[in-house]
């Protein structure tokens, strides 16, 4: 699955992932003050290689279906937290 850097920015906004500085190429997903998982961030514009998109999806611990839903909007932050809880990560 090929995605754009702008879509990654959208995911970062939606899940409130924070990139510490422009030097950092990842952001942490935090829940109740704890670092839960880390997600790659690409600065700039354009497409992200398909393998990189797969790796980002894997870092987010999402199925292809849920990853697409996260980008297309139906999957909310609350839904995502439920998924991580079901996977024992929270």
């Amino acid at each position: 699955m090929q995605i754009k850097k702008a879509e990654i920015e959208k995911i970062f906004g939606k899940l409130r992932l924070e990139v510490r500085s422009t030097k950092h190429r990842y952001g942490w997903f935090c829940f109740e003050g704890k670092k839960i998982l880390r997600v790659h961030f690409s600065h700039g514009k354009g497409d992200i290689p398909g393998r990189v998109s797969d790796k980002i999806r894997s870092q987010l611990k999402l199925s292809q279906k849920n990853f697409k839903e996260l980008i297309d909007c139906p999957l909310s932050l609350d839904d995502y937290v439920v998924i991580l809880k079901n996977k024992g990560l929270i």
Partner: protein, 135 residues
């Protein structure tokens, strides 16, 4: 095609069962050449290489670590799957350098905030402390 599928396919090409008799379909040399071609084709897209250093004045690796290099549309993706870290760039050396920087950033992020790590980052930190030393 996965490596296991490839070798199953090769075995099918090499022998054909007819009762208890086996008939060779490829000569040994043809079989060897085909195997080499398949391995080369896989290596063009995916390699596992050791690195001995994080290229840092502050940190060193206590033992070599194995990273993956994948190639896609002119980009090189360097990955360190044990902590789900990766980086991509136009060349192998850039991708590996960026991956080393990222491993150090992750290590520092987690050591600074070790009381607030979820189950997954806590495991990554344990592992990184086993392999990274401070000069």
């Amino acid at each position: 095609m996965r490596a296991v599928d490839t070798f199953s396919h090769l075995t099918m090409l090499k022998t054909e069962h007819n009762g208890n008799m086996q008939q060779t379909l490829l000569t040994s040399e043809q079989y060897r050449n085909l195997t080499k071609k398949i391995i080369l084709s896989i290596e063009k897209r995916h390699r596992i290489v050791p690195i001995n250093s994080l290229k840092s004045m502050k940190y060193f690796l206590k033992s070599p670590i194995y990273i993956t290099l994948e190639y896609e549309k002119g980009k090189v993706i360097a990955g360190f799957d044990d902590i789900e870290a990766f980086s991509y760039a136009d060349t192998e050396s850039e991708a590996v350098s960026q991956l080393c920087e990222e491993i150090i950033q992750i290590y520092e992020d987690m050591t600074e905030d070790r009381a607030n790590l979820g189950s997954l980052p806590a495991k990554w930190l344990l592992y990184l402390e086993e392999i990274i030393g401070c000069r």
